[in-house]
């Protein structure tokens, strides 16, 4: 069956908002559904799973993200890690088979097959000859989670957010830059370095998930360390680990390191006399 993403997106958003509403009501906290952060979490979860993913499992992911990751740690602004990323990892570990079965895009030139591996899975298997070209990767003509296939669209969205000053460019630049440099050193080829940048969740993670204000460092220096750390962990998992993809793990691990990075960057900030006039 060829699944439509719409069948995941709308229920995930609705479920996340409902869970947030219920959680706040049960623990007698001020209603925060109006800030739409739960809706965003639901949307990101839908974007982070294959289009053919069973709906009930996705909704469990929403429950985990909203209640366990966000609600139990004190609600919006207090969560230590990005709820959508953590939910993705939760689903990946709980339902690994469904999380690694990717429907093919309509434009893939296959005859009967409806599912196929992602480019990163092919890379991990060593079947490099079957990997689509860079242009295909850029435009999204390959398997993968809905939110990660079209690198071009993500790039446009990311640049829009930076231009509107919603996010700072430090984390995305450090993250993507590190993936590229790491790829270049490890493979010795610009082509494969670009392949690592364009495939998998790097674009989605770098622009839309690692930049989450709550779970990333406060100061630019910290954000630089955070971005580089994400890049190194991602590439280490991809090249040396047993999983084909490591973006979500890298962001979660760096989220956990954020308080430490903050403390480190405060040291430099205060030593510089940063808070003095005429810095």
């Amino acid at each position: 069956m060829r699944c439509s993403q719409r069948t995941l997106r709308v229920p995930c958003v609705a479920a996340s908002v409902l869970f947030e509403y219920l959680f706040n009501a049960i623990v007698h906290k001020k209603q925060t559904v109006g800030d739409l952060s739960a809706a965003l979490t639901g949307l990101l979860i839908a974007f982070n799973v294959p289009a053919s993913f069973p709906l009930w499992q996705a909704i469990i992911g929403c429950l985990f993200a909203i209640v366990v990751v966000k609600g139990l740690f004190g609600g919006i602004g207090k969560n230590f890690s990005n709820p959508a990323i953590t939910a993705r990892i939760f689903l990946f570990i709980s339902f690994s088979a469904n999380m690694s079965t990717w429907p093919l895009t309509r434009l893939a030139e296959s005859t009967d097959a409806v599912t196929g591996p992602t480019p990163l899975a092919l890379y991990a298997e060593g079947s490099t000859d079957q990997i689509p070209g860079l242009m295909q990767l850029l435009l999204g003509f390959h398997g993968g989670s809905t939110g990660e296939v079209c690198a071009l669209a993500l790039l446009i969205g990311g640049i829009y957010l930076i231009a509107r000053k919603v996010i700072s460019p430090v984390i995305p630049c450090a993250f993507i830059g590190t993936v590229f440099v790491f790829g270049l050193i490890a493979t010795g080829s610009v082509y494969w370095a670009l392949f690592h940048v364009l495939s998998g969740g790097v674009m989605l993670g770098a622009f839309f998930m690692a930049t989450d204000y709550v779970t990333s460092p406060k100061l630019p220096l910290g954000q630089l360390i955070f971005g580089i750390g994400c890049g190194i962990i991602t590439m280490s998992i991809r090249l040396f680990g047993s999983y084909p993809e490591g973006v979500s793990f890298s962001i979660l691990l760096m989220n956990i390191c954020t308080p430490l990075i903050n403390n480190l960057s405060y040291k430099f900030y205060l030593k510089e006399g940063g808070a003095k006039n005429g810095k």
Binding site: G75, I76, Y213, S216, K218, L219, L270, A275, K276, G278
Partner: protein, 436 residues
């Protein structure tokens, strides 16, 4: 001076609606209430008693302290009462209430000062009753008499007027540009300063053009106009000193310690008038604006006039006022009622409706750090807020909370509408309390 990197600032709508409104003189009200606490430092003691007849320019309040400035009657009339009134800061103030006879008889005390020495000059500055008219109300003669006079080189005039709505400094430069330059020359002469700078935001082209014309006409070589970006808070003392001279000025440091004498442009203009006429400060220019004022304008208001009388002169209220602010919307103070009298430092009376004054509900901090990037000094208000809540004085100190000048840029920028400037203020009080 070479072009410098500007400190971070924020863009606040200017609302300079009254920039082109020539100052009009309002009629003398039936009654004025003159506060004895009109300057930073010691409050004045009343020199008159109930039933006394006072004239314009007569000294009615003074005190022996160094940091103080005398207070003069702005009207002629009879002292009706001397009251203890709760002021806008919560403490009690003495107010002299004068019933006016509207004759405006000028007191015999009003005489053009004779200045032959630096000491005469400082004494005359005190006798003019001048305090910083921009809002801080620091006695001017104290600023002109620094301990390290030999080290002072520059006179920096604060004409930035970065607060929204207020246009009094702008009008001073347009209407009394000559007085401003004369005042500057007087100060530079008696304090032996090398150079004068007028720091003015570029959103006041009329003022800049007028001053430029006068400087050219009088062939003045040692006064320079420094255009500043029109963003908030370029008129804050420490920001201005940096932008104009490049010198870093930390909290608790006086400009004179950096070799700079700094004064507000209206203060200098009005003081120059005193040296010409002998009339001390008895009136001031006030911008009356806000969405409920029928005719916003710039008004010469006798000091002590109640807000209600001033607004009445401006056509009264269009709608019910919800909030009345004396001074600018960023750093001014809300008054408890329109019965409050104007003071030397009342640069503006801003009356806002319910819709304008409404404070929206606060939401959770998302750690976006817009407060940090908005802060001219690069402080971290979100950390102050956490540390204040945790009563962590050590952390507040480590992150230099005392450097905060309470400009309000953080509160203005915060998307969660947190009252960060208020928390900073409370945190500073906590630190001061702890160091006792």
């Amino acid at each position: 001076m070479s072009q410098r990197k500007h400190l971070p600032s924020i863009h606040v709508p200017h609302h300079k609606n009254t920039a082109a409104c020539e100052t009009v003189t309002m009629p003398i009200p039936d009654e004025v209430s003159i506060s004895m606490s009109q300057n930073i430092g010691a409050p004045c003691q009343p020199l008159v008693e109930k039933g006394d007849y006072v004239k314009v320019g007569q000294r009615i309040g003074d005190v022996q302290a160094f940091v103080s400035a005398p207070i003069f009657s702005s009207v002629s009339g009879t002292v009706k009462s001397i009251d203890k009134v709760r002021g806008s800061m919560g403490g009690f103030e003495t107010h002299i209430v004068i019933e006016t006879d509207k004759k405006q008889e000028v007191s015999e005390e009003v005489q053009i000062p004779v200045v032959n020495s630096f000491e005469d000059f400082v004494k005359a500055a005190r006798d003019s009753g001048m305090v910083g008219l921009g809002g801080a109300s620091f006695p001017t003669h104290v600023k002109l008499n620094p301990k390290n006079l030999d080290e002072c080189e520059y006179l920096v005039v604060n004409a930035a007027e970065c607060e929204p709505f207020i246009t009094t400094d702008n009008r001073e430069m347009v209407e009394n540009g000559q007085d401003v330059l004369d005042g500057m020359k007087l100060i530079m002469k008696w304090l032996n300063l090398k150079k004068g700078f007028i720091g003015v935001e570029t959103n006041k082209p009329d003022a800049i053009a007028n001053l430029k014309r006068l400087i050219e006409q009088n062939e003045i070589k040692d006064i320079e106009i420094v255009p500043l970006p029109s963003s908030y808070p370029k008129g804050a003392e420490r920001v201005l000193v940096y932008e104009v001279t490049g010198k870093t000025m930390n909290a608790g440091v006086l400009p004179a310690q950096l070799g700079v004498i700094l004064d507000n442009v209206s203060t200098i203009g009005v003081m120059a008038e005193y040296f010409k006429t002998g009339m001390p400060i008895v009136r001031r220019r006030v911008t009356v604006d806000g969405d409920v004022v029928t005719e916003p304008k710039n008004v010469y208001v006798p000091i002590g006039t109640r807000i209600a009388d001033v607004v009445e002169f401006c056509g009264g209220y269009k709608k019910e006022p919800r909030k009345i602010i004396m001074g600018g919307p960023m750093m001014g103070r809300a008054t408890k009622s329109d019965e409050s009298p104007t003071m030397k430092n009342t640069s503006a009376i801003l009356c806002f409706s319910q819709e304008m004054a409404e404070v929206k509900e606060e939401t959770a901090c998302l750690n976006c750090q817009r407060c940090h990037t908005a802060c001219p000094f690069g402080l971290m208000p979100s950390i102050f807020a956490d540390a204040y809540e945790a009563k962590d004085v050590d952390k507040l100190n480590r992150f230099n909370v005392m450097q905060c000048m309470e400009c309000g840029s953080c509160s203005y920028t915060c998307p969660a509408r947190r009252p960060l400037a208020l928390t900073n203020k409370l945190a500073k009080m906590m630190v001061k309390e702890a160091s006792k």
